[in-house]
Amino acid sequence: MMDVDVNEAGLPRVVVSDPAAGFTPLSNSPPQGGRGPVGGLGEGGSETADLDGALSPLEGESGSGGEPPREGALGAVLDDDATLPTYSFAYLDEQTKRMIRRAILKGIAIPGYQVPFASREMPMPYGWGTGGVQVTAAVIGPDDVLKVIDQGADDTTNAVAIRGFFQKTAGVATTTRTGEATVIQTRHRIPERTLEAHQILVYQVPIPEPLRYLEPRETETRKLHGLEEYGLMHVKLYEDIARHGHIATTFAYPVKVEGRYIMDPSPTPKFDNPKMHRSKALQLFGAGREKRIYAVPPHTDVVSLDFEDHPFRIQSFSQPCALCAAEGVYLDEVILDDRGGRMFVCSDTDHCEERRAAGHRGALSGEAL
């Protein structure tokens, strides 16, 4: 169906065959000048407008009518530069995106339930967000503005690569500003800024099954979810308290969604769990290797498991962010030198930057990093 080769930027270049022509590749030639490799598109604004509609992920779907699908989409791209080989919008072919959207819709209909899906090979190894990337590819449209974070930061290799991937394959605008983004793909954090109804948060999930720790058999964990037998989750918390005197789980802290399914929130710090509760934004979770998608629709109850006498508590930090003086945010420890010097700064880099731009100053904000 597709030919993949790698261009000079290291990103694979996908040549989509024309379904009407029996899947013959249109072109295998390497990209020549024009738009590539990354950037240009979207950021300028005018080109984005050109692509409006033409590349809508819903447009090219086959099914109704007899015309060959994607004709319009391909046309728009080819008009732009007739020699440029074409991608499916956002890399995945339309059939795959439809399949993923069906899984997402099912996930939204059954909040917290893990929906199996036919995870595809992506041009990145498992463990680098292949599940999240597929979900993003299935929901993103040409008007969307994408933000990608890894551990709260927009500038880490993984985040930059995924952002570049969608700039290139979907031509969407990207941003580091949480407030400007319409789709945010994340690994290990939820932005500090409260998300809004028009935003979608896509989580990269390594291990979707919260019961895995105590019950390795997939057949059995499915049954436990089906029958709502969740005693095992508390066994794990009991063990924590017995060993450490308190619930020592700080990441991937299990939650109950809408009073029914127990869900792994992915390895976000438990600090972020309360942000999931009744969020206005749609939250989608993709696990590529494990081939599971799940969802938390807007305004859904997300409750962290606990005991009456050991209630759930988020981490608290004894000092504010050293750069922007923010309190009540999740802080990362940064080692400053090899003499034990260190500081605590916002893990959400955008939040920190916005605060500093607004004039907030932390204890160490004058020092060079």
């Binding site: 105590l214 005693g231 009991y238 017995a242 005991f307 009456e308």
Partner: protein, 268 residues
Amino acid sequence: MSAVAMLPDAETERPLLKVSRLSHYYGARLGCRDVSLDVYPGEVVAVVGESGSGKTTLLNCLAGRLTPTAGSVEFRMRDGRLRSLFGLTEAERRLLARTDWGFVHQNPAEGLRMTVSAGANVGERLMAIGDRHYGTIRATALDWLARVEIAADRIDDEPRSFSGGMRQRLQIARNLVTRPRLVFMDEPTGGLDVSVQARLLDLLRQLVADLGLAAVVVTHDLAVARLLSDRMLVMKDGTVIEHGLTDRVLDDPREPYTQLLVSSILQV
């Protein structure tokens, strides 16, 4: 006061478990055939017989772990109604299995979670039925460990570090913590050395009496049947060949096969 004493008379007179004409075949091979049996509240029934006679097959059918080829198994629910086990949904059957029933395996590793602490093993059923107070769960676990003679300071140890006898006692505590009304046991003292067996039997006898438990105990050891049970079934080639009060069967066996069993084994 035992649980039985608190029940109105009518309750002890109505069977808790009612088994009619139960057969199970593994394909063409006979497991057990045409077994009928009633178990009353507070009563211990032993199933004895030689290896391969169908004891485990019968027990697994009674406990809903195997679907019989023919016949019925009914259990009296807390509302007093008899319900066919196989007419229950799987969810109902599993709920029953972790509240009203216990199942003690011959091999404790099958009935325990070997990688979580003894306390969590005992507490699991409590948490499964909604107990959400750590302090209460732990206190109950400590109480049950004491009842099965496991030292309090072993509560946070994994059963992997326990002896065979301790593991079996832990398995029993784990099963009894929700005060089940009926306990199934498959060779609970098998695989243990004789002195450990004797101690475990004493403990079981005491617990069964204290809690007014009804139990079905599979064993090929007539001494176990003698010590624990009120009534016994003797099985051979998949069928029940003799059935009666334990003392009567052991002191005055009627069937030649039972006579042979008793004379050859019980004289030790």
